[in-house]
Structures are given as structure tokens and as C-alpha cells.
Amino acid sequence: MWGQVKEALAQATAHFLMRFASLLPGLVALILAILVSFVVAWILVALVQRVLTGMHFDEHLVRWGFPAPAESAHPNPVALLVARAIGLLVILAGFLIGLAAFDSEWMSLFARRTLEYIPNLLGALVILLVGSVSARFLARSVLIGAVNMNLQYARLLSVGVKCLVIVLAVAMALEDLRIARSIVELAFGILFGGIVLTLALAVGLGSKDLVSKSLDRDAKKVSRETIEDPLRHL
């Protein structure tokens, strides 16, 4: 009996050691991949940060309509954030490459699937970034144009345009990520239509007093213009 127990223990230990030994090359490869990715990430972070700082990326963002970042100890917090995000992506890629080195079917499948998904993730990020920049730019254009046309609901129009573009960008990004496609399509239709309807109602019904006041003012203006406006600009 005791002999059988000893034999079973020896077999289990041998089996464990054999399995562990078979995992060792993969483990070493994983550690190596992570180390290399750390080094590459560190170099990339420094490089990207230097390039973005050189091209005044933070200031450009403010010009494109993004709110200025809150007070920070770092002079270029957004450039730092972008550089670190890229570094993190590199480390993640290194980790996945390391995982793929294990001679295990599910591990390599997981790594391959994740790696295959990265282009979609990057695509979605680009869509969100472009959408966000466009939304802010268009919102600002609409705001200035509407104020110069003396529209009392200028800000509402501007916010509406911003929401429309952002909703469109988010829907496109989710589509690119292949997340709940049918729900996204439905939700996008409802949201987009909802925003347009809200704007139409707000401008058409909610501001009917303003509109009638504005029309009244325009009518007065027309009658004034027939008298003659003495101002000459150029």
C-alpha cells in the first residue's frame, strides 16, 4: 500500500516537473518578450513625447477646439499621455507575443485573436479622435455663425451639432469594434433621430416666442432699411 502511494507521488512529481519543464521555454520567452517590449516602449515613449512636445501638440489640441487640460505638474500633459498610451500598447503587444510562445493551443489562439483585434481597436480610436476634433470644430463654426446671425439659440444649435457628430463617431467606432452591431445600428438611429427631433422642437416650438420676436425685429429692420442705414463699413 505504502509502496503504491510512493509510486503515485513519484509519478505525479515527475509529471509535474515534466510539464513545468515543458513550460519553461515559453515562460522564458514570455519574460524576454516583456523585457524587450519594455525597452522598446521606453524608447518609443521618449521619442513620441519629444516629437509631440516639439510640434506643440498640446497647444494644437486647444486650437482644434479641445478644452485646455487642467493644471498639471507636467508642461505637456497630453503629449505625455499619448506617449504613455503608445508605450502601454507596445508592452501589451509584447505580452501577447510572449503568450503565443507557449506551446498551448488556447494560449496562441487567444493571442492571435487579440492581435487580430488590435487594428480594429486602433481604427476605432482614430475614428473617435477624428470625430471628436470634427465635432468641436463644427460646433465652434456653428456657434460663431449663429451668433453673428443674432440667433438666440446659437449655443443650443452648436451643442446639437456637436452631439450629432459625436454620436455618429461613436456608432462608427462601435461598428468597427464589432460590438453588438444590430443594437448599435438601432441605438444610433434612435439617438440621431432623437437629437434632430429635439433640435427641431426646441428651435421650432420651444423658441416660438423668440422666433416671432426675431421675425418682428426683421420686419422692423426691413422697414428701417427702406428709410436708409447711414453706416458704411468699407
Binding site: 465652434r140 460663431i144 429692420k221 447711414p230 453706416l231 458704411r232
Partner: protein, 419 residues
């Protein structure tokens, strides 16, 4: 009034083949046959030896008018060359359209090796036929390089010029030019060659607008500039719907020129008058003119509510505070201090240079501020005489000069000097 001055080319006949002329006169104003004949008569009173090419869209083809022709009289030889003038494009923006036609007049001057180029872009009141003779004299006889008009003006005429263009040119370049961008203008060969070269270097952007380039080029090249007193311009009625676009198209080239000439104007202090010929024309006061101040104030108040976020990127906190105070004033007490307006113009010029925000947004957001200045000025001079209004504008010009150290400091140290 004779119509013999209308040469036969104007009646649809072929253009003369000419290689060189002494003077090119580009007529961009919409003139009827009588006014055109008046201009030709004036040109024919110039010395016999002069050969003058007149660039004007064929009036016969345009209006269907038939011009009678009599025997030519003695005087300078005047002939029409309509093909050298860029065609008016009603579809394009008025300022761009004007710029293209202006450019074509200077190009014709260069092509025909003219000693001087004139652009006639206005109809004047009272229509004095002799004004063109007076206008051509400084270039032909006294070797000036640039002659600009000093229009007799009502107190509400040419306000974009009075509020920004003229005082800014005066403060930057130290010469008191009342109408730096004309639009009627005379330039010597030396000057139009320089202007053409600068316009070519500026490419096709707004910085290539020749009308905006003429005065700064003459002043930075230390050329001789003079003014001629003329009658009042007949202005087109204001296009309130497009005021923002006009402001943008005029100010953008001015601000670009500020960038180009920064090394020059930072050394200039104070200002001096320039020679002025001719008697000033009295056109009387328009004390009955009434302006709708309330509407302009309301537009400014709306902008102060909605555009503060954008103004805050361009203007320093002290200016934002002043604007907030101004927005709370009722129309009957609405008064924008000159110092505030001057700083706003300087800060927008600086933001244009730094490209702080998109240039369209920047200049678009300046429109309500211009309207605020307009409302303040109109309220102040509504009941005043033309003379008092001129004094008021002189005070504004002095405020520009007094504010120049602020501009220089902001320009040199945009990050460090932020009051």
C-alpha cells in the same frame, strides 16, 4: 460735356496693338457712359506725349449703350484695352473679385512697362471732373511712388477703415494715411513691381491681396507717399448679412502683412503727416442720420454670453473682464473705451500670427466686437458734427499709438507678457 473721349475701341471695335504705354488706368468702378467720358476727358488734359491705356469692361457690351464719337481733341493719347482687365465674377466673394481685377491692372502695368498705374474703384460725389488730373499729378510730376485719396467723408462713412485700417497703419508704420487701401490709388512703376513681387511670394492666400499690400510695401521700402483731397465716395449700402465675411477678408491680409513687416514696425515710434494736395471738399454734415445702436449692442451681448470661451483663448483676462462690464451697459450708456478696442485689435492680430485658433473662427468671433465699437462710436457721434467725429477718430488713432508698446511686448513675448 463731350463724348469724344470715348475711344472707338470702347464701341466694340478691335483693341490697338500696343507694346508700351506711359500710364495704365484700371477702372473697376461701375460707371455709366457719362462718367467714363468724364474720366477720359480728364486723362486727355494730361500732356500730349503721354500714352494712356484705359482698362475697363467694354461699356457698350455690358449695358448696350451706344457711345457717340466726335472728332478727337488735342491731349494725351487715350485708348481702351479691356482684354487686359480680369472679368468681373459676380459669383465670387466681392473682396476676392476686386482683388483679382486689381491684380490684373498691376499686371497690365508691368506688361506694358507703364511708368504709373491707377486704379479707379469709386464713384465720387460731388463728381468733379478735374479730380483725376489732381490725382495723377504727384506721380507724373513730383516723383511720388504712391498717391492715395483723402475722401471727404460723412461721420458714418468707411468705418472699418476708420476703426482699424487707418489707425493701425498709422501706428505700425508711422505715417498718417487716411485711406491706406484706397480703393482708388496711384502707384509708380517701382512700387507696383515690388507689390507684384510680394504678391507672387505670398502665393494664392489672403496675404497676396494687392490692395492691402500697396501702402505697407511703400512705407517699408521708404518710398514717397502723398494724399490728394477728393470728394466723398459713393458707398454701397452695408451688407449686414455678410459683415463677418467682409471683416475676415479685409483683416486677414492686414494681419498677415503685420507678420511680414514685424521687424520694420517694431522700430517705428510715433507718426508723421504725409504731404496732401488739393483743397478739402465740403460735403456738409449729416446730423439727421440715425443708427440702430440697440441691435448692435444686442448682438454684442449675445456674443458675450456665447463666445466668451473663444474670446478667452485670444484675449487676456483683463480685457475679458472689461468686456463683461461693457456687456452689462444699456444701449443709451454704451461706451467702449478706445484703449480696450485697441488692445482687442492688437490681441486678435497676435492670435492671427500665433494661429491660436482656426483663422476663420478667430476673425468670425471678432465681428461682434467690431459691432460693439460701432455702437459705441455711433452713440457718441450721433448728434455731433463731421468735424467733431473727425476729432473723435483722431483720438482713437492716438490711442492706437499709445497702445503700441503693449503690441510690441505681446508680439515679442506672447507667453510671458499676458496682463
Amino acid at each position: 460735356m463731350t463724348t469724344d473721349a470715348i475711344p472707338e475701341q470702347a464701341q466694340g471695335k478691335t483693341e490697338p496693338q500696343v507694346d508700351a504705354v506711359d500710364m495704365v488706368v484700371g477702372i473697376l468702378a461701375e460707371l455709366d457712359a457719362k462718367d467714363l467720358a468724364g474720366i477720359c476727358d480728364s486723362l486727355r488734359t494730361l500732356p500730349d506725349s503721354l500714352r494712356i491705356a484705359v482698362l475697363h469692361e467694354d461699356p457698350a457690351a455690358k449695358s448696350g449703350e451706344t457711345l457717340q464719337k466726335t472728332e478727337p481733341t488735342k491731349g494725351a493719347s487715350v485708348f481702351f484695352m479691356p482684354s487686359l482687365l480680369a472679368k468681373s465674377d459676380p459669383g465670387s466673394e466681392p473682396v476676392s473679385n476686386f482683388s483679382a481685377r486689381y491684380q490684373s491692372v498691376l499686371a497690365a502695368g508691368e506688361k506694358l512697362q507703364a511708368q504709373a498705374c491707377y486704379v479707379i474703384a469709386s464713384k465720387l460725389m460731388p463728381a468733379s471732373p478735374g479730380w483725376l488730373g489732381q490725382f495723377t499729378q504727384p506721380l507724373l510730376e513730383h516723383n511720388f511712388d504712391l498717391v492715395v485719396p483723402h475722401y471727404a467723408r460723412h461721420k458714418f462713412d468707411g468705418l472699418l477703415n476708420s476703426s482699424i485700417l487707418s489707425p493701425l497703419t498709422r501706428c505700425l508704420y508711422g505715417k498718417r494715411i487716411n485711406n491706406p487701401i484706397g480703393p482708388d490709388i496711384g502707384v509708380s512703376q517701382r512700387l507696383f513691381q515690388k507689390v507684384r513681387s510680394r504678391a507672387k511670394n505670398a502665393g494664392s492666400g489672403p496675404g497676396a491681396h494687392p490692395a492691402m499690400l500697396v501702402a505697407p510695401t511703400a512705407l517699408t521700402e521708404n518710398m514717397q507717399v502723398c494724399e490728394v483731397n477728393v470728394g466723398a465716395r459713393v458707398y454701397p449700402p452695408p451688407d449686414w448679412a455678410n459683415i463677418s465675411s467682409v471683416l475676415s477678408q479685409i483683416l486677414s491680409p492686414i494681419f498677415i502683412d503685420m507678420e511680414r513687416n514685424a521687424a520694420f514696425w517694431q522700430r517705428v515710434r510715433g507718426s508723421v503727416s504725409i504731404p496732401c494736395s488739393g483743397d478739402s471738399v465740403d460735403i456738409g454734415d449729416d446730423t439727421n442720420a440715425t443708427v440702430d445702436i440697440q441691435q448692435m449692442v444686442e448682438k454684442f451681448q449675445l456674443a458675450n454670453r456665447d463666445l466668451r470661451e473663444i474670446w478667452g483663448i485670444v484675449l487676456p483676462p483683463a480685457t475679458m473682464f472689461e468686456l463683461g462690464k461693457l456687456a452689462r451697459l444699456p444701449p443709451d450708456r454704451f461706451a467702449m473705451p478706445d484703449e480696450l478696442w485697441v488692445r482687442i485689435v492688437f490681441d486678435f492680430a497676435l492670435a492671427h500670427r500665433l494661429r491660436t485658433i482656426s483663422l476663420d473662427h478667430l476673425l468670425g468671433s471678432m465681428t461682434p466686437l467690431y459691432l460693439a465699437w460701432l455702437a459705441s462710436y455711433a452713440r457718441e457721434v450721433q448728434a455731433a458734427s463731421a468735424w467733431a467725429a473727425d476729432r473723435r477718430l483722431e483720438k482713437l488713432a492716438l490711442a492706437y499709438e499709445a497702445g503700441k508698446p503693449y503690441l510690441v511686448s505681446r508680439w515679442r513675448w506672447p507667453d510671458r507678457f499676458n496682463p
